[in-house]
């Protein structure tokens, strides 16, 4: 495969497309599929044939606005229809060439206008399982350019210049990581794509893998060339069956086109990718635990150093990046590192995909430039809190992150800014909570998550999270005391500082951030036995004397009996 051949394929796809008057793109991501967008697509195809229109119905990946699904986009007029069912198919096809159907149209301009799509540029526009569609959107051009015209060092230079930082949450500079693996001694090296998106409330990686998997494969191949690896693994959650099946189909297509395998692009570069399924362990998102899992063992982390860059999979130098990080690579190589660095803020470049969920009108996937204010994401793009409720907090970073109150909404989204206010960027989950959520209960929810997901290897995390959970449960049930609160804060710092891996080190974050911004709610639970959101079941309000007496007599009776 050469660049000229890519051009030919792209030209073919475009000619085909130009022959048609209309193209109807139907979203078939997990969200819309759950509302039977597959039936909608079949019905649309049948209607196009029945009504004799010169149109093509295409299966695409996620269009982002899950709240309004099932979605369909009619090209070239760019009319977006929402809440479709197969009953609407006839009318939609009939409207081609006529006035669009006003009542089905989605007119959320402000939702889309504020976004900048780099990672999601093809999502919703291409058929994820057709490699030619991807090639027609400049796919694999970056890989072939890198192989033919750039040295591995040149590739790393571009990535470094772009200022890209790891999108899994840590924010480690990607160029630096690649450089370390490239310099590591050894003939055999590996690249791994971390698709173990365990954060509850986050689905960016799922969406990218379902909507544009070739982009991730291309990013991995470029990375492999840069660091000198010839074998790659994608570690995906088994809970994402659609992503796995699309990825499998894409790997087959890429091999068929000679874009994976031996002598890619007629060069001496060989590379292939295997899929490894996760098995439902949050800790496997941690890189050393993930490596253990690929090796077929229990996913327990190891102390670092040695870092995987030096000694990773089977003891070989290994590059691990997140799905979204790899998805950024091809556009950076195509447009240059400077192009990417021009977007975003001072120390956080480019764009970030967020999964906007919870108590917000426009739930779904959004991609925004770094540095954008939280307020803009929530109020403009997200459409604010629905049903007349008031905003209380936004949670970023999942169980490792924190809850930020309304006063903090004017900070710009970047790794450093979020860290400075007690949360983290994380992988991109952004959950909005309103006045019906109790922050103590939310903190307890996250600690319960970390407690059950703790692998049990180190004591601070294993025992610490369990004790924190007990204390929080007590506070939630109205039996907590100020001593409990003090002990809780004490434990937070122990678990944070003494745990082995990221899971334990960040587990106290939700507690610390809610204590920092919503301390009043903790105090209300302790002193007033009151939960202002009405979520916590406070056991015994204030007992009247008679009730206590009765209870005492009853207990005494049981004892003597």
């Amino acid at each position: 495969m050469t660049i000229e051949e890519l051009d030919q394929i792209a030209e073919q796809v475009r000619t085909e497309s130009a022959k048609r008057d209309y193209e109807i793109n139907v979203c078939m991501g997990t969200g819309c599929l759950s509302q039977h967008s597959d039936r909608l697509k079949d019905k649309l195809t049948a209607e196009v044939a029945a009504q004799g229109k010169n149109a093509f119905v295409r299966r695409t990946g996620c269009m982002g606005l899950c709240a309004a699904g099932p979605l369909a986009l009619v090209d070239p007029d760019e009319i977006l229809y929402q809440h479709l069912s197969s009953d609407n198919a006839k009318a939609v096809v009939a409207s081609l060439g006529n006035e669009p159907i006003a009542e089905l149209q989605c007119n959320l301009r402000e939702h889309f206008d504020q976004q900048v799509h780099v990672v999601l540029e093809n999502s919703g526009h291409i058929d994820p399982e057709k490699i030619d569609d991807y090639i027609a959107h400049d796919g694999y051009r970056a890989l072939l350019t890198a192989l033919n015209d750039m040295t591995p060092n040149g590739v790393i230079r571009q990535i470094t210049e772009s200022g890209l930082r790891g999108r899994g949450g840590g924010g480690y500079p990607t160029g630096l990581k690649w450089g370390t693996v490239a310099k590591a001694a050894g003939d055999v090296k590996y690249v791994i794509c971390n698709g173990d998106e365990g954060d509850p409330g986050a689905f960016m990686d799922r969406s990218v893998l379902e909507s544009d998997p070739q982009r991730v494969i291309e990013g991995m191949a470029i990375a492999a060339y840069a660091v000198g690896a010839s074998k790659g693994f994608v570690y995906v959650r088994a809970e994402y069956p659609l992503a796995v099946s699309r990825l499998t189909a894409c790997l087959r297509e890429a091999r068929r086109r000679g874009l994976l395998g031996n002598n890619i692009g007629n060069t001496s570069f060989n590379f292939d990718v295997e899929i490894r399924l996760g098995a439902g362990a949050f800790v496997c998102g941690e890189e050393t635990a993930l490596i253990a899992s690929i090796e077929g063992r229990r996913g327990t982390p190891k102390p670092r150093p040695p870092y995987p860059a030096v000694s990773g999979l089977w003891g070989k130098p290994t590059l691990i990046n997140n799905v979204e990080t790899y998805a950024n690579i091809a556009p950076i190589i195509r447009n240059g590192g400077r192009w990417f660095a021009a977007m975003g803020s001072e120390r956080s470049k480019g764009t970030k995909v967020f999964a906007l969920t919870g108590k917000i009108a426009n739930t779904g996937l959004v991609e925004v430039p770094m540095g954008i204010k939280l307020r803009e994401i929530i109020e403009v793009i997200g459409g604010g809190v629905p049903d007349g409720h008031t905003f209380k907090a936004v949670q970023t970073g999942g169980p490792s992150g924190g809850c930020l109150p309304a006063e903090m909404l004017d900070i710009g989204v970047s790794y450093d800014a979020l860290l400075s206010v007690g949360s983290i960027m994380g992988s991109g989950g952004m959950i909005v909570m309103d006045d019906t959520s109790c922050m103590v209960n939310v903190a307890r929810f996250f600690i319960e998550f970390c407690m059950t997901e703790s692998c049990g290897k180190c004591i601070p995390c294993r025992a610490g999270t369990a004790q924190m959970h007990t204390l929080l449960t007590r506070i939630c049930s109205g039996t907590g005391t100020m001593d409990d609160l003090e002990l809780l804060e004490d434990l937070c710092s122990t678990v944070k500082e003494a745990s082995l891996c990221g899971l334990g080190q960040t587990a106290p974050n939700p507690v610390l951030s809610t204590l920092r911004y919503f301390r009043n709610e903790y105090l209300e639970h302790i002193h007033d036995k009151h939960c202002r959101a009405g979520v916590c079941k406070i056991e015994t309000p204030v007992l009247e004397a008679g009730v206590i007496e009765a209870a005492v007599t009853k207990t005494a009776g049981e004892v003597t009996a």
Binding site: T30, G31, L33, S34, Q35, C66, A67, G69, E197, G198, D199, P200, G201, A202, F203, R206, R237, A238, E239, Y240, P241, R276, L277, G278, A279, G280, A281, F282, S293, I294, E295, G296, R297, R298, G299, A355, T357, G358, K359, T363, G364, L365, Q395, G398, G429, I431, M433, S437, V442, F445, F446, F449, E453, C455
Partner: protein, 165 residues
Amino acid sequence: MRAPTPPPLPSDDKRWKIVNGTMRKNGFARHALIETLHTVQSSFGYLDKDAIRFVAKSLRVPLSQAYGVVTFYHYFSLKPPGKHTMTICTGTACYIKGTDKLVAAAEKRLGIEQGQTTKDGQISLMTARCVGACGRAPVILNDGELFGQASEEKMLEQLERWAVE
């Protein structure tokens, strides 16, 4: 050195051939343990002792290690599932939208706790740590099929339909 001969298949059940296929594809390498267990679970629905023994022996992995892996990962189940499985997502977005109440209602209706199967083997009630469909929260999986914006009413109706089947 010749590789030791793999053990015979536990029975003539054709599904064992699928399991063996996964191991063969991976050259009976030890790192194929999790892959193979996935195949067993997707073929049989769960992992019983015979299956774990067979896989451990075939891949020359100590039985303790294989058992350790099975119990470490939540995805693997040691008990056979019911005829139908309802999985309620308890990820953050679903939790904020009240799936804890759905879980409680389902537990009450079925008289079992999450992670258990009804006595007649008809329905298993499971919870998931986020299925990644947060845009449609709260989410329920009925025999693997995803339903978004679930309500208690609809959920109970589904349980009712399964119970009388």
